[in-house]
Amino acid sequence: MAKVFLGMSGGVDSAVSAYLLREAGHEVVGVYMKNWSKNLPGMKCPWAEDLADAKRTAVRLGLDFRVFDFESEYKQKVVDYMIEEYKKGNTPNPDIMCNQEIKFKLFAETAFEQGAEMIATGHYAQTDGKNLLRAVDENKDQTYFLYRISADVIPKIIFPVGGMNKPDVKKLAEEVGLTVAHKSESMGVCFVGEANIKDFLGEFVETKPGEIRELESDKVLGLHDGAIFYTLGQRHGLGIKTGLPYYVVKKDMDKNIVYVSQNLNSLSLWKKEIQLKDIIIRGEHDLSKLQARIRHRAPLVAAKLEGDMLIFDDEQKSLTPGQSIVLYSGDNCIGGGIIA
């Protein structure tokens, strides 16, 4: 039995994790990571309520509880990164960065400094002590967000709910009387990830309006309020009134122009191969026989990695620079890269 520092978000998954770890006989220290506390337009940051929920669960289970204040590091490593990426015209994923830099690096380091032997979180993922593996609940699997965590830390992680189905987690929470059993679930892992990106960026970046042009004709179809806000493949929020929908197919950040097309088969939208950057691969694998996930919850598709080029068996739609493609060999989440 180990001394385990468990990241507690105030949600049901980490609460059930706390219960399971305690039942397994571990000495558990609940930790709330305070990463962000600022309200955003139209969104109240629920950190104080989440902290109270996490602490309440810890008290009910008789666990030690601490707060790690990572606000300045989170701002620096996650938010600033995110803003920089958007400025470049990319669409970054803050949750992935948060896991890489905060939850499985800074939190882990701080926990080990304070005497932890293992760390745990309420993520839906598994490990075999060496590899990061997909969760039992295919529908909830969060390895997409975890693919960048360091190989060194994996042997020291416990994912107590990774082997369970989400409905069973909720049921268990209710059975053992955890007060967060019915707490509404947030989609993203981080608050910042949930915010309306337009509102969020509006707080940090000055934007100017620009033209929306049709790719094929170069005709100006309307105005946008900043190319930074648009993502490849995006269909809504373009403000173009026509019969068939337009899709964002290209962005020119220097000229602040968003290009759109009605042609779903536009070459800019569908790609058979894509260049990746910041690739990480944990361990030795046959890179010619991989499965790739191009976004959270997207079905796995066959692909091979040759150098920094990922080649799909079939064409894929809306591969967005800044987003991650995560690679699997069977159940093993071996790593992945960021679309260049």
């Binding site: 104080a48 109270a52 602490k55 309440r56 008290v59 009910r60 509880f65 707060v67």
Partner: protein, 383 residues
């Protein structure tokens, strides 16, 4: 449930609930309308204001009804000019602190270890540019009564000095009576205040209704303009049902004031005696100058919030020392002002008793609170 947080909210009294109901239903009229039924609603509203005013020794026309204490406090602060200086006690509620902070020119009046304003400090700080002195009737965190009439004497002396010196700048005394009202006498003349904030939510009235007493000759600037209700000082259709319920609740509280004080004093003695068995416990405030409903204490080393979460499992509800501040991780300025260490502040709890308490549930609460804290001390010692 054993509810020990009457300083945060009180349940609406059945009597108050009954009297307000018709004004949602059959007597729903807009009191500004011309026809007779609306006029009757207006009369009922004005009578309720008179009734509320009577409790504080004023007339209905001296009151501006508001949405609660926070709005009343903001309205009280509207009296000052742009370059004015403000003095507030070091144990004020966040609403007063925030209003003062907005002026960019305020000072805190120091308090003694019991949280009572130091009069000599007020005398020292009451300079010619001070336009408003704001001191609570009772500190919400400590239950400490403030020496309002002594404070008033100092303010009046300064006002007289200015008159003699032909200085034009006015000076007013505002008292936030949201805590204490209904449990002690609060007559404006005896307190010597120019502005008095009162609130229904802590005297078994409804939430969302309060008032500001405005003394004669005191000029307040409306926060909202419109139809000119409340003599133009607070536009917007009058909250008739809540005002009527406030009047009833306050009158009922006033009627039973001395009996209720005595009853609470008895409960407080018993509970205090029981709590005194907790190792290292420290009580805040002086019995003589503390409201009979309040017990404020700290147990250094213990995290008060853990105690709250442990006791809620037994359906016992109380508050950390700084009710509003605690959950945000902000250290309570009031507890700091009475000289508590950070450790003591973190281990501070507040019990505020009231109608929902009796001998039996206070005895049970005493047992359970002691057990929860001693349990936590043991847990910490093991670690």
């Amino acid at each position: 449930m054993i509810y020990l947080d009457h300083a945060a909210a009180t349940p609406l009294s059945k009597h108050a609930f009954e009297v307000m109901k018709p004004y949602f239903d059959t007597e729903f009229f807009n009191p500004s309308a011309a026809y007779l039924p609306a006029q009757k609603t207006r009369y009922a509203y004005e009578a309720a204001k008179d009734e509320i005013a009577h409790v504080i020794g004023a007339k209905g026309a001296d009151l501006v009804m508001t949405s609660g204490a926070t709005e009343s406090i903001n309205l009280a602060f509207s009296t000052i000019s742009k370059d004015a200086k403000v003095l507030i006690s070091a144990v004020e509620h966040q609403a007063v602190r925030a209003c003062a902070a907005r002026t960019n020119n305020f000072e805190e009046i120091a308090v003694d270890k019991n949280g009572r304003v130091k009069l000599e400090d007020l005398e020292k700080k009451i300079s010619p540019e001070v336009e408003l002195v704001s001191v609570c009737l009772v500190s919400g965190e400590l239950g400490t009564l403030q020496p309002m009439s002594d404070i008033s004497r100092i303010v009046v002396a300064e006002r007289q000095r200015r008159a003699m010196a032909s200085e034009k700048r006015p000076i007013y005394l505002h008292c936030d009576a949201s805590q204490g009202l209904g449990l002690m006498e609060a007559k404006v003349a005896r307190l010597g205040v120019d502005l008095l904030t009162i609130n229904a939510a802590k005297v078994y009235g409804p939430k969302g209704i309060g008032a500001l007493y405005v003394g004669r000759g005191v000029k307040v600037n409306p926060l909202s303009v419109g139809g000119g209700q409340e003599m133009g000082l607070r536009s917007g259709t009058e909250n008739v049902p809540a005002t009527i319920a406030f009047a009833t609740a306050l009158t009922d509280a006033e009627r039973h004031l001395s009996a209720e004080r005595k009853r609470l004093q008895g409960l407080k003695q018993k509970l205090t005696k029981k709590l005194a068995t907790i190792p290292n416990i420290k009580f805040h405030g002086n019995q003589k100058t503390q409201l009979p409903s309040f017990i404020s204490f700290s147990v250094p080393g213990v995290d008060a919030e853990r105690i709250i979460f442990a006791l809620e499992m037994d359906e016992i509800y109380l508050s950390t020392g700084a009710a509003c501040a605690a959950s945000k991780g902000v250290k309570s300025p009031a507890l700091k002002a009475i000289g508590l260490t950070d450790e003591e502040i973190a281990g501070s709890l507040r019990i505020s008793m009231g109608k929902l308490n009796d001998e039996e549930n206070i005895a049970e609460a005493g047992e359970k609170i002691c057990a929860a804290i001693i349990n936590e001390q043991k847990r910490l010692n093991r670690g």
